[in-house]
Each structure stands twice: as structure tokens, then as C-alpha cells.
Amino acid sequence: MKGGAIIWRVASFAVAAGFIALWQLVANWKLVSPVFLPGPDRAWASLLRGFSSGDLWSKLIGTLEHMAYGWLAASIAGIAIGAMIGSSRPMRTYVAPSLEFLRPLPVSAIIPVAIAAFGLTQGMALLVIAFGAIWPIMLATIHGFAAVEPRLYEVARSLQMSRLAVIFKIALPSASPDILAGMRLSLTVALILSVVCEILAGLDGLGHWVLLSARAFRSADLFAGVILLGVTGYVTSVAMSLAERRLLAWQASQR
């Protein structure tokens, strides 16, 4: 069985390699103008060049920083506020519906408001990223807190646990699958908003890099940037999966 999985994996990589070869052929035969579509060879060369000169490194780190700070701030605030609302019945009655109402709001629409208030600054970007990323986390936390098995609260009562102990030992772990799912969604939101803010505010990062490359019709650099953004999305989501698997090991045994 395990050997079979490896063979499938290899075959799957071969297919992906086939697509890259096809892309190379399309580029070589100039089926699409090289101004728009560089071959994978040129994109790869640009990636290497960018990293050896250090240009791309600093852009990558810029984007990662925007994303990480915004996401972390959103996670902390989202879990704290979500826990506060989710663990109190009056808050759930009075506040939660307003939040649910705001959920379908396209968060990027607050970018102009943030620009008006804070200008084209790093602070504006972090605020927008955090604001966008907080929703899935906060709503998932509220939901997770509201869905805690009532029997566990009774166990906590008969053990005379303090309110703080109940939150940390019962409610938070019980809500953790929801919270982590929310954090995973937010990771994607944070990456997208980082790119948008970099494009709009000209902040140091991959978003700005791809835009400048496009303006200058340096398609190889442009594709290098896009590939790097794809890798960023992939690596962060894999890291999140690993964290989830570790933290939720107890869930695997439940199925």
C-alpha cells in the first residue's frame, strides 16, 4: 500500500513536470508573446537572480512580515474577543448577530477608509490585514465556545473550577478545532490583503514587486514573484496543517 502511494506520488509529479514542459514549449514556440509569458526557464533564472542579489529575499520577508504580524494580531484579538462574546449569553444575544451581519462584507472595502484615516503607511496595512483576518477567527471562536458540550460545564461546576480555569481547561480546548479552522482561513485572507496593501501603498513586499515588474513588462520577474507568492501560500498552509494535526491529535482517534 505504501509503495503504491509513492508510485502515485511520482506519477503525479511527472504529470506536473509535463505541464511545465508544455509551458516551456508554448513559450519557446512563441505561441504567446514572451512579453506576457516567459518560459519556466526564464522565470527560474529570474528567481535565482533575485535571490542571489538579495532583492527577492527582502521582498519575500516584507510580505511574510506583513502577513505574520497582521495574522498574529488578528489571532490574539480574535480569540480573546471571541471567547469574551462566546462565553457570555447576553453578549451572544446582543453582539453576535451584528458580527454575523458583517461577515459577508468584502473586507477589502475598508482599505479606502483605512487609507483615509492613516495614509499609505505600514500601520494602515497592518490594520487592514488584521481587520480582515480577525473575522474568521473571531466568529469561529464564538461558535466554538457556544458549542461546548453542556455536560462539561457541569463537570466543571461540580469540580468548583474558577471561571478562568473553565475558559482555559474546558472551553478553549473544546473550541480549538473551530478556532484553528478559522485561523487557517485567515491565513489566506492575510496573504491576499498583504499583497493588495503592498500594491496600493507601495510597501516593500512581493505585491509591490510583481506590480513594478508588470509595469516594466519584465515578465520573468513578474512570474518569479507570483511563483514565490504561491510557494508562500503553500508553505504557510502546510505549516498550519502540521500544527493542526499536532494540536488536534486527540481528534484523529475520535473517528
Binding site: A109, P112, A116, I199, V210, F223, V226, L229, G230
Partner: protein, 254 residues
């Protein structure tokens, strides 16, 4: 009962009144904030001169065109991957390599290839919509009751008929959930593209209002965009309930 229904409204109404009062008391002068009364007035004005309606039409056109294209591609791939395990396994690496590219990163590529306008926006929206539809419809097809598949085999239905008569109808409730989620994503991506770069629709409208230092109009756009997002979600949720009953909503967890 009426009191219970009013409870969720108390916070937003209270906040609006407090803000209005505060803005009046301090004679608020700001580039980013405006009292609710002025926002309402600006919204009424933009509705009266049809500017916000035209922008809405542009945004929704790009949203739905992208959604349609993305749904079609995502559904075709999702059904194919759901039926054929071989195909799914062979394409796994390719899909996993392309999927995490944030849709907005394609913006510069679409920009130099297609220029400003509907086309580039539609392409980006479509790209964003493919993935949720693909993944959820693949899961939906896989979870089609195996008995039904056996029935189709016993009846010796040809592949195309099997897809049309058995698989799609059986998986439809869950596919619709995917469609509803994608519609939300489509709107968000469309507005984001407009805010970032494309000079059309609601996103461009709100950016213009900001640059013109019209906070009332800017916030009117914000409220309007929120209302459109809410209405779209509401409409599709109601449609889903009508078409497939309440049971379909349980498949909501992503």
C-alpha cells in the same frame, strides 16, 4: 417575543445614534469619518444620480461572469476528479501547486496580458472561484451513495448519462453550497481587484470617493458594498433552502 427579536438590533442602532451624537457635538471634521446622517444623504444622492447603480452593475457583471466561468471549470474538474480516482491522483501535485497562488497575485499578469477592464477582472474572479467549487464538488461526487452508482452500472448507462442523470442530481445540494460560498468569494475578489487597480465598479467608486476627500460618500459606498454582499448571501441561502430544504445547510462547514 418582539423584545427578543429587537435585542440583536439594539447594539447597531445604539452605536449609530451615539456616533451621530458624538459627530454633531464635536462638529466632526475628518477625511475618514462622517456622521450616519451624512452617509445616508450621500447614499441617497449616489442612488439618485445612478452613479452607484452603474458601479454596482459593473461589479456584479464581473462577479457573475467570473463566477460562471470559474464554476464551470471547477465543476468539470471536480466531477472528473470525483469519478476518476486515477485522474485525481495524477493531477494532485499540479492542483496543489497552483491552488495556493493567491488570486490577487495574478492581477499584474492579467493586467499586462489583458489591460484594464472587465476581462482581467473576470479572469481573476474565475481563478478564485475554481478551487472551492473543485474541492467541494469532488467531495460531493465521492460521497454519492455507492448504491446509486451500482444502479447506474446495472442499467449500463453510458458515462455522460451517468454524470447527468445520477451524479449531478445526487451531488447537487452540496454543489450548490460550494456555489454559494464561491459567490461570496467572487464578490470579494471583484471588489478587491477594483480597489487595487481596475478603474471600474464599486471598488473604483469607493477609491475615488476617498481620493476626493468625501468621507460621507466613501462610507456610503462601504455600506452599500456591505449591503450587496449581505443581499447576495441572503438570496443564495434562501434559494438553497427553497431548492434543497434545510438539510442542505448542514453541509455548510467548509
Amino acid at each position: 417575543m418582539t423584545l427578543d427579536r429587537a435585542k440583536p438590533l439594539m447594539l447597531p442602532i445604539g452605536a449609530l445614534l451615539a456616533f451621530e451624537g458624538w459627530a454633531r457635538a464635536t462638529h466632526l471634521q475628518s477625511d475618514s469619518l462622517a456622521p450616519p446622517s451624512e452617509i445616508v444623504a450621500a447614499l441617497a444622492g449616489a442612488l439618485a444620480d445612478h452613479s452607484i447603480l452603474a458601479a454596482t452593475r459593473d461589479t456584479l457583471f464581473a462577479t457573475f461572469a467570473g463566477l460562471a466561468i470559474g464554476s464551470f471549470i471547477g465543476l468539470a474538474l471536480g466531477i472528473a476528479f470525483g469519478i476518476s480516482d486515477t485522474l485525481d491522483r495524477l493531477m494532485e501535485v499540479t492542483v496543489e501547486a497552483v491552488r495556493p497562488v493567491p488570486s490577487i497575485a495574478l492581477l499584474p499578469i492579467a493586467l499586462i496580458a489583458l489591460g484594464f477592464g472587465y476581462r482581467m477582472e473576470i479572469v481573476i474572479v474565475a481563478f478564485a472561484c475554481i478551487w472551492p467549487i473543485l474541492i467541494l464538488s469532488r467531495a460531493a461526487v465521492r460521497s454519492v451513495e455507492p448504491r446509486l452508482m451500482e444502479v447506474s452500472r446495472v442499467l449500463r448507462l453510458p458515462a455522460a448519462q451517468r454524470v447527468l442523470k445520477i451524479i449531478i442530481p445526487a451531488a447537487l445540494p452540496r454543489i450548490f453550497v460550494a456555489f454559494r460560498l464561491s459567490a461570496g468569494i467572487a464578490l470579494i475578489v471583484a471588489v478587491t481587484v477594483e480597489i487595487a487597480i481596475n478603474p471600474l465598479g464599486l471598488g473604483a467608486g469607493i477609491m475615488l470617493a476617498q481620493q476626493a476627500l468625501r468621507p460621507d460618500l466613501m462610507l456610503a459606498y462601504l455600506v452599500w458594498i456591505g449591503a450587496i454582499g449581505y443581499a447576495l448571501n441572503m438570496l443564495l441561502t434562501v434559494a438553497q433552502r427553497r431548492l434543497f430544504g434545510r438539510a442542505a445547510l448542514s453541509g455548510d462547514s467548509l
